[in-house]
């Protein structure tokens, strides 16, 4: 029995006296597109922060393929195979789109200590970066200034930067937030394509229920810091507790 890709065991996290995450345990299986949903303030982002190393949980363990990664610094966790995008787009604004991806490639290859070779002349690096951008249909924007991109393109660029680190698990924190319906459709198709190609296992959190139910194979529901339910999208849709707490009061 192989270890699940990601396992969170009894994660509890306090911010001062406030309990943001209360005993959440879940697993993400390799290749299974998983979603985490919950109202604002349910603790989703805190949970992501814990899994990606931005926060050390007050209690609990996080395991990646059976290896304990709890409390490790973000750069180590990225090197071990978890990538994440942020709710508020986090890219290198003053660098070009190509350079954004090159940073991640250099970081991943551990080639950051090369002090002499010019990046601009490194053809293999350039090709690899363009390839990553190509997966996300951003290669035509390679020389553009990242800060000048549209909101939707910036989110795609962030995804490119994440993918450039060749992660096994990708945490997507509200990937379609702030996107137009068109952009949302494009991103959903992209994620489905990338997941189908076995690029990585995607673990996303979303507000847009259509996105979640259209993409996810497994859904976890958080409510007030606790795990309320888990199952396939159909299970979740039918779950009365979930309906009451999150999808709105239903008149039965």
């Amino acid at each position: 029995m192989t270890a699940p890709l990601l396992e969170a065991r009894a994660i509890r996290h306090f911010f001062g006296a406030f309990l943001a995450v209360d005993g959440v345990s879940l697993t993400v299986r390799e290749g299974e597109l998983t979603a985490l949903i919950g109202a604002n303030g349910a603790g989703k982002t805190t949970f992501y922060n814990i899994v990606s190393g931005r926060l050390t949980p007050t209690e609990g363990r996080v395991l990646l393929r059976g290896r304990d990664i709890t409390g490790r610094p973000p750069h180590r966790i990225t090197r071990m195979g978890i990538g994440r995008s942020f709710q508020i787009t986090n890219i290198f604004a003053d660098l070009s789109v190509l350079e954004n991806v090159q940073v991640a490639l250099v970081g991943h290859a551990g080639a950051g200590l090369r002090l002499w070779r010019a990046v601009a002349r490194d053809q293999p690096l350039r090709r690899r970066a363009l390839a990553v951008l190509g997966r996300l249909r951003l290669d035509h924007l390679a020389e553009e200034h990242a800060g000048a991109l549209s909101h939707g393109d910036k989110r795609l660029l962030e995804l490119a930067v994440v993918l450039a680190s060749a992660p096994s698990l990708v945490l997507l924190d509200e990937p379609t937030a702030g996107m137009t319906p068109e952009e949302t459709r494009a991103v959903v198709a992209l994620i489905r394509e990338l997941a189908a190609d076995g690029e990585a296992t995607f673990f996303l959190t979303e507000h847009d229920m259509d996105v979640v139910f259209g993409l996810a194979q497994r859904v976890f529901v958080m409510h007030r810091g606790r795990l309320l339910a888990e199952g396939t999208p159909e299970d979740i849709r039918a779950n009365p507790e979930v309906r009451a707490a999150y999808l709105g009061e239903e008149v039965t």
Partner: protein, 318 residues
């Protein structure tokens, strides 16, 4: 450097040619001034590796500059090795100091980082100022003569200002070139990413602190090169070379010339010193006018003088 791919190397070549030919078309005084401009230009460029490229504003770079000067002066006074060794020892000592101090400083960011570099810089100043036995206290280290570059090389006499100028030119151009290669290397790219978004860099697999420390050490090394040229040039090493007012000079020069361009600090140094020379011939209070110019720049030209040349370029970035 984007935007003017052909123009910049051409202008640079012209400037270099002019500098090489300086002893023949410039006055004795111009030679002295040019030597100082080159040295301080390198100092400012080393500062800019930290500021413009890594996003770290250090107010304590004089600690390394001054150490380069003091180590050079002490070696020349007490041991008298070939000058080439002085040029190695000064920067190495400066880099070691930078590594130690940097280890503490890179734990902080923004204002706190700046304040800590200031604190350490003044601590180093206090040491140089108080330790009469080693550093001569407020009198500094003097009474030494410049040794031959390499024993046996009779043709080069560094006591001759023209020869010293050529040595400075060679060292500064070589150092500048190395610094430039560093900024365009993968390491330089990582530094820029740290400047832009340190968190995203960490999430791209980059351990931020060690990179900052390495940048700090390299900056200290080249500040030491500048200092090792500066001390002997002035035939003295004094605590003022380690004081925070000395640390402020590369800051001013870089802002003046523009931190967004590799050559900005060099231009800033040239303009700063040129202004000082011109103004001091009229008044003792040249800082007043420098202050006015700086005020004007901050308010209206925050990207420095080179931004004037860049304004037509559509794309930003370096």
């Amino acid at each position: 450097m984007k935007g003017r791919p052909v123009l910049v190397p051409a202008v640079l070549l012209l400037v270099l040619a002019g500098l090489v030919a300086l002893p023949w078309w410039g006055s004795y005084f111009a030679l002295f001034l040019a030597t100082e401009m080159l040295i301080l230009g390198l100092f400012a460029a080393s500062f800019n590796l930290l500021f413009g490229y890594t996003g770290l504003l250090s107010f304590g770079q004089a600690a390394y500059f001054g150490t380069g000067a003091y180590v050079a002066a002490l070696l020349l006074r007490d041991i008298g090795p070939d000058f080439v060794w002085v040029l190695v020892a000064g920067p190495v000592a400066a880099a070691l100091l930078a590594a130690v101090i940097g280890w503490f400083c890179v734990r902080l960011t923004e204002v706190y980082f700046a304040m800590l570099t200031l604190a350490f810089g003044m601590m180093v100043y206090a040491v140089y100022h108080q330790w009469r036995g080693l550093t001569g206290g407020s009198d500094g280290v003097a009474g030494f003569s410049i040794t031959p570059l390499v024993s046996g090389l009779e043709a080069v006499n560094l006591a001759n200002p023209m020869h010293y100028y050529f040595l400075t030119l060679a060292v500064v151009v070589a150092s500048g070139y190395v610094l430039y290669r560093i900024t365009t290397s993968p390491f330089g790219l990582i530094l820029k990413s740290i400047r832009e978004n340190a968190e995203r860099a960490a999430f791209a697999g980059i351990p931020v602190r060690p990179y900052r420390l390495l940048a700090f050490t390299i900056a200290g090394f080249f500040a030491g090169v500048a200092g090792a040229l500066f001390g002997p040039f002035n035939r003295i090493a004094v605590p003022e070379m380690v004081h925070w007012t000395m640390s402020a000079e590369p800051v001013l020069m870089t802002i003046l010339g523009g931190s967004h361009n590799f050559l900005g600090p060099f231009l800033g140094a040239a303009v700063f010193l040129g202004l000082r020379t011109w103004l001091t011939s009229y008044t003792d209070q040249w800082m007043f006018f420098l202050g006015l110019i700086l005020l004007f720049l901050v308010l209206f030209l925050p990207r420095g003088l080179l931004s004037l040349a860049e304004w037509r370029t559509r794309r930003r970035g370096r």
